[in-house]
């Protein structure tokens, strides 16, 4: 059933590029919308009858080991939502048929890549899908042919290829140890074979590659540039889901189902996580560019995810997955808001912005919801995930890390409040008479995302038992 999540976008790309291109250019937006809606509806109600097992005939053509557990379902849902938001933003900002067509094609490729990352159970297929996603992102960052965007894309390419090389070397070393590339056999081989330099270097190299892909602190050089120089819709896409899937999700999956939680891996994750949280938050405080501040905030929030993973307990894992979900929702919302601000005022420099809440009340309101959720204010969704992570740290006995994580949460609140004060509150500038609220095309995704944040926060008792704890618990099922 789930192999159709790969096949459907793949067939749509082929169909879009066959003859009748002029017709297809008109249809491209609708096709992509339908594919994403199918993905979301498949995750939300898996029992719809049209998804009967007959589709597995197509799945048998694919030579990948696909498996879907609760963690994958959470990720597939996020992917659908964030790509939908990015599609709407691009549609609203650029009204040119040709460019929408190009964007949709690359977006569908990225969708294939990310769906694949989430579903594969084989380390080499994981690499293939990571590269598909990365190549799509390179193209989209340079989509507007802007010189800054090219610079950012080049930095991203260099670091991404270095991460790839590290990952391939690790795959080769694991091949020597286990003689296979599937998750289960590597995991078995690592359990039975004695500790050696080969194994520990393979594990370290792979973790390092994941840290580069996730943009964690010693390797964060490309992330802020990429997010701030990319076109608005692409920032939504990258910040919302791409770096989370290729970095954080891969890390969670690999540590959980291949390497296993050992004390050395756990302490590495904890240290990298806490450094990312603190330095990311401090760097965000000093930024004067809307999108750059959000980028550093992203580093800091991914730090929380890694910290939750580093606990090595079921609760910590559940917290990490929940924070991954929350983070992709609220960061997408914030980047949609930054797209609205950029479109209406022509700048993302916070020194040139002030008092926009009088002109753009809806954007201001949704960004307050997202910021408070990110800062962990109850009852919004971000509060609960941070609470779970900190509880998991405390219960595992990492008291120092728990205290630092709480204090860094105050830093998060500080930079988001300063962002709100500089951009949306305060006195309106004189020359901003013709700024108006962004149109429906931007308000609709923002509204949906804000509703998800509030709803997940309010219905937390239901959500935690239905989705989040199972995601930490039954990762195999």
């Amino acid at each position: 059933m789930y192999s159709s999540l790969i096949l459907l976008p793949f067939l749509s790309v082929i169909a879009l590029n066959l003859p009748f291109r002029n017709l297809m250019k008109k249809l491209a937006f609708v096709v992509c919308l339908l594919v994403l809606l199918v993905q979301i509806s498949l995750i939300v109600c898996p029992s719809i009858c049209i998804w009967s097992n007959d589709l597995d005939i197509f799945g048998s053509f694919l030579q990948f080991n696909f498996a879907v557990d609760n963690l994958s379902r959470v990720m597939l849902f996020c992917i659908g939502i964030v790509l939908l938001a990015a599609l709407f933003v691009q549609r609203y900002i650029i009204d040119d048929e040709e460019r929408i067509f190009n964007f949709v094609n690359v977006l569908l490729l990225i969708l294939i890549g990310m769906d694949g990352i989430v579903m594969v159970r084989d380390i080499f297929s994981l690499y293939i899908f990571l590269e598909i996603t990365a190549v799509g992102s390179f193209i989209l960052i340079g989509f507007n042919k802007d010189v800054d965007a090219f610079e950012a894309a080049f930095k991203y390419i260099i670091l991404s290829v270095v991460a790839t090389v590290l990952m391939l070397s690790s795959i080769a070393l694991l091949l020597i140890v286990s003689g296979s590339t599937s998750f289960s056999s590597i995991s078995d081989a690592l359990k039975t074979s004695p500790d050696s330099l080969l194994i520990s270097s393979a594990v370290a190299i792979f973790l390092c590659a994941c840290f580069i892909k996730a943009g964690l602190i010693p390797f964060h050089g490309w992330l802020a540039d990429t997010y701030s120089a990319a076109p608005a819709a692409v920032s939504v896409l990258l910040a919302g889901i791409v770096t989370k899937t290729v970095g954080a999700y891969t890390l969670i999956r690999i540590v959980n189902s291949v390497f296993g939680f050992e004390s050395s891996i756990n302490s590495l994750l904890l240290v990298i996580g806490i450094i990312s949280i603190v330095i990311g938050a401090l760097a965000a405080l000093g930024q004067r560019d809307f999108k750059r501040m959000l980028a550093y905030s992203s580093i800091s929030q991914v730090g929380y995810i890694i910290l939750g993973l580093g606990c090595g307990t079921t609760l910590g894992l559940a917290g990490a997955v929940f924070h991954l979900f929350n983070h992709s929702i609220f960061k997408t919302l914030l980047f949609v808001n930054s797209a609205a601000v950029e479109l209406e005022t022509g700048t993302t420099d916070m020194n040139g912005l002030s008092g926009l809440s009088k002109k753009m009340p809806f954007t201001a309101m949704t960004s307050v919801v997202a910021s408070l959720s990110a800062a962990g204010i109850p009852p919004l969704s971000g509060f609960w995930s941070k609470l779970i992570i900190i509880m998991a740290l405390w219960m595992s006995g990492f008291y120092v890390y728990a205290v630092i994580a709480i204090l860094a949460s105050v830093l998060t609140l500080a930079y988001f409040l300063s962002l709100q004060r500089m951009v949306f509150f305060g006195r309106l500038k004189e020359d901003s008479a013709n700024i108006k609220e962004a149109g429906l095309g931007l308000m609709f995704p923002a509204l949906i995302l804000a509703l998800i944040i509030v709803a997940v926060g309010l219905f937390f008792p239901f959500i935690i038992n239905t989705f989040i704890l199972p995601a930490g618990n039954i990762l195999g099922g």
């Binding site: 042919k145 080049f154 080769a172 070393l173 802020a224 560019d289």
Partner: protein, 101 residues
Amino acid sequence: MRLFWSYGLFISILCIIGFYCILVTYNLIRALVGLEILIKAATLLIIVAGYITGHEALAQSLVITLIVIEAVVITVAVGIVLGIRSHNNSLDARKIRNLKG
């Protein structure tokens, strides 16, 4: 295993050359050449791994897939370099320093 370490020496020399190339040069195309050398080192490592463990067929299929993907990545990267060149009229990395902070 002794075979592995002798190949391993050569692979690590390739890796050092690749990293040195990326770190030292200011020319964007040369940086891509450095990346290619790095990927070649990884490719060689996979072949050696397959040879030692007796999984030559598996290693071959992995390497062929890898070569295809690497070609795609480098093509896109060269496209980006062309874009930079059309803006700056040079390939010097010292001239692209707009983003910082």
